[in-house]
Amino acid sequence: MDRILDQVTRPQAAITETVVDCLGRHYREVNQELRRLVDDGAHRLRLTHVAGQRYLGTNLQRPVQITIEGVPGNDLGAFMDGPRIRVLDDAQDGCGNTMNSGVLVIHGSAGDILGHSMRGGAIYVRDDVGYRVGIHMKEYGDTLPVIVIGGTAQHFLGEYMAGGVLIVLGRRLPPGAMHPSRYIGAGMHGGVIYMAGKVNETFLGKEVAVTALSDVDRETVEGHVAAYAQAMGMDLEPLLARPFVKIYPKTARPYGRLYAY
């Protein structure tokens, strides 16, 4: 956890920032330039006038810091392994698709299937996200994928989830309002979802159960939310003010007893 915090917040003023203007450019060209810059030793990049360019950060296997001005296209950080990307606007679908390590910080909302099959690293979203977020995310060895959503999420949150931590803070939900997501954790067989605010239990997938937080859970939530607050430049306390519930899989083997052996 400290490592992630450090990665997100370490002051880097001493390191020069290279600006890449993306105005009207195809993603292939932009990504090629980023790769060349990183190969040449760039540590900090600022992408300006980004408008829908896909796959940013995909093929850079270094802990390079990238700031994106504008809205990046789909599959931001797909297969990402190392970079720390800060998006100063909204992001589209497929952020962090099959991501292995690194950090994605989105100062806005993001689209569908954020964190699809993500295996490690962290994704922090300031506002809301679309459908099927955290789908089939899994943990492995000492890597633990973490997604923290500031606002709320659409349907099928944590679908097929096999590992990792998914936290939804519900910041912008009106007081007393329920999270809109239906079929939360459908097919979930690993990992854990924490949601602040009201969750309609009839909206849960049939493979999950809901419970109050234990002390260990509370510590987990506080740790991840603290990292989130720091990355977002927010106060921690209000983020933790609302009571959380824990959503967890009833079994690690939801597909048992299907076959005639």
Partner: protein, 504 residues
């Protein structure tokens, strides 16, 4: 255990005059069919558990054993055969879906057996492949529309940027089989044989074991819906990537490796915790359209710096021609199509036997469609789904495939006896199992040698057949349906295959 109404499929016959009660069969059978009765100093059998894999028959030092179909004859009924009854009994006892392994075992028409090849007589000479060069080299990947060449006066240079290609010495590759569905020794045998024969093997969706990275340049690595073991090093280690959409044995459905088969080593390769179910959902979560497929194809191309061809594998289904066209337009360099008879480590029996179309019809439909749209050059076509012999390969290429994938034939070369029980994880031949006691039965040195021998034998036969047709390069055979004629097919079938009837 409650009494099962399902009678044994096989009976074990042990010749008492030959049996020396050495108990080899007892130790060899993972299904615990044979057992030693100390009171009588006799070896006996529980016929009920026999799957018909012939491990005991092959290893018995005195040839005392034979395994027969159970002669128990049900009252004949053309509609209600013994297999159908057994299936119902099994389901009534368990309440579960019927599972099976390997490809469709039903007597659907095998079109390969209804097509014959041509040979030269008098008017154009045949070629002797022993004496004359015969080219089997095949390149897989998108080909440019035209080549632009700069003439500098003192030489020529190619201006057209070529896209990455796979170079095959023989148009036969080993089809996707994951570490998990088959043993590590089987994977290593395939990797080494592919390296030796100048072709490729395919990881399936199980990731790549660290010990197999050394064969990376002969590896096609899959990216499937579960994304198991998929990370940048994996993508970059392989020679090509394959997005697995579907599989001939179970089109439209996903799969799962049950937790008990996720051993420590497999968990490392798949990058999931030991003992957890590895679920491969039916669709990719990020693919709902051709545009989405394009997005994943280009994500992989970006991740691998446009240095590797990307293949998309689909099952042969009703509308395969437009589907393949969409895949090519999405930017795939290779379209791999797996037919109805394609094998599997585990599939619901009903799906395996009833979903999809034979690969022969799919190749014909796809090749014709891509040609008519003028995009055939934009992707290579790889056919899979039961190539049992070199003649099937020659016919597949004449129908329009660039190369073929083989899997069942490769397993048979390593000792598989088609018992169709791969899903139990108790393969007595050390192939479809992770039990160390069983896996050590397959020595990768011998496995690789047997596979390389098979490829060598088939390439000799392919050259012989090509020579007979007066063709000295596999390029001239590709899509050349004039070399094929149909035997015993109706006009609709002939039209679907795009061939003439024998005698015409």
């Amino acid at each position: 255990m409650a009494l099962s109404l399902a009678t044994a499929s096989f009976v074990i016959e042990r010749d008492p005059a030959r049996c020396i009660a050495c108990q080899v069969c007892v130790r060899q059978c993972a299904n615990d069919v044979h057992f030693y009765d100390a009171d009588d100093d006799t070896v006996r059998a529980h016929d009920q558990s026999c799957v018909g894999c012939h491990r005991c028959v092959t290893l018995c030092p005195t040839q005392a054993l034979s395994v027969r179909l159970n002669p128990l004859e049900y009252r004949p009924h053309a509609n209600w055969g013994p297999d159908i009854l057994r299936n119902i009994y099994k389901q009534a006892e368990t309440g579960g879906m019927l599972l099976t392994g390997m490809g469709d075992d039903q007597p659907q028409r095998i079109y390969w057996d209804h097509m014959v090849l041509n040979a030269s007589q008098v008017t154009n000479p045949s070629i002797d492949p022993v004496r004359e060069p015969m080219e089997l080299k095949t390149y897989l990947g998108a080909k440019p529309e035209r080549l632009e060449i700069d003439d500098h006066g003192d030489g020529l240079t190619l201006r057209t940027e070529l896209t990455p290609q796979l170079e095959l010495d023989i148009p036969i590759m080993f089809s996707a089989m994951s570490y998990g569905s088959i043993s590590f020794n089987a994977c290593e045998s395939l990797a080494r044989a592919a390296t030796e024969a100048g072709t490729y093997y395919n990881t399936g969706e199980g990731g790549l074991h660290p010990a197999l990275y050394q064969y990376g340049e002969r590896t096609i690595a899959q990216v499937a819906s579960g994304r198991f073991g998929v990370h940048l090093d994996y993508l970059n280690a392989a020679a090509a990537l394959e997005i697995k959409i579907g599989q001939g044995a179970k089109p439209g459905i996903g799969g799962h490796l049950p937790g008990e088969k996720v051993t420590l080593d497999i968990s490392r390769t798949r990058m999931i915790p030991q003992g957890t179910d590895a679920l491969s959902p039916a669709p990719h979560h990020d693919i709902y359209s051709i545009e989405d497929l394009r997005q994943l194809i280009y994500a992989i191309k970006e991740a691998t710096h446009y240095t590797k061809p990307v293949s998309v594998k689909v099952a042969a289904v009703h509308n395969i021609a437009p589907i393949a066209s969409g895949i090519v337009r999405a930017g795939a360099d290779i379209v791999a199509i797996d037919g109805l008879r394609g094998g599997t480590g585990a599939a619901p029996t009903m799906v395996r036997n009833n979903v999809g179309i034979p690969i022969e019809l799919a190749i014909a439909a796809v090749d014709a469609r891509l040609r008519s749209e003028g995009i055939r050059h934009r992707a290579s076509l790889v056919a899979a789904g039961s190539m049992r012999c070199s003649a099937d390969v020659v016919k597949a290429i004449a129908l329009g495939a660039d190369a073929v994938y083989i899997a069942t034939s490769a397993l048979v070369a390593m000792g598989c006896h088609l018992c169709q029980h791969c899903y139990t994880g108790k393969c007595n031949w050390g192939i479809a199992t992770q039990d160390p006691y069983l896996t050590k039965r397959l020595n990768p040195n011998i496995g690789a040698q047997r596979l390389a021998n098979l490829l060598r034998a088939w390439s000799l036969e392919i050259k012989e057949m090509m020579g007979g047709m007066g063709v000295n390069s596999i390029e001239s055979l590709r899509g050349n349906r004039d070399h094929l004629r149909g035997l015993g097919l109706n006009q609709v079938e002939l039209d679907a295959l795009g061939i003439k009837a024998a005698g015409m």
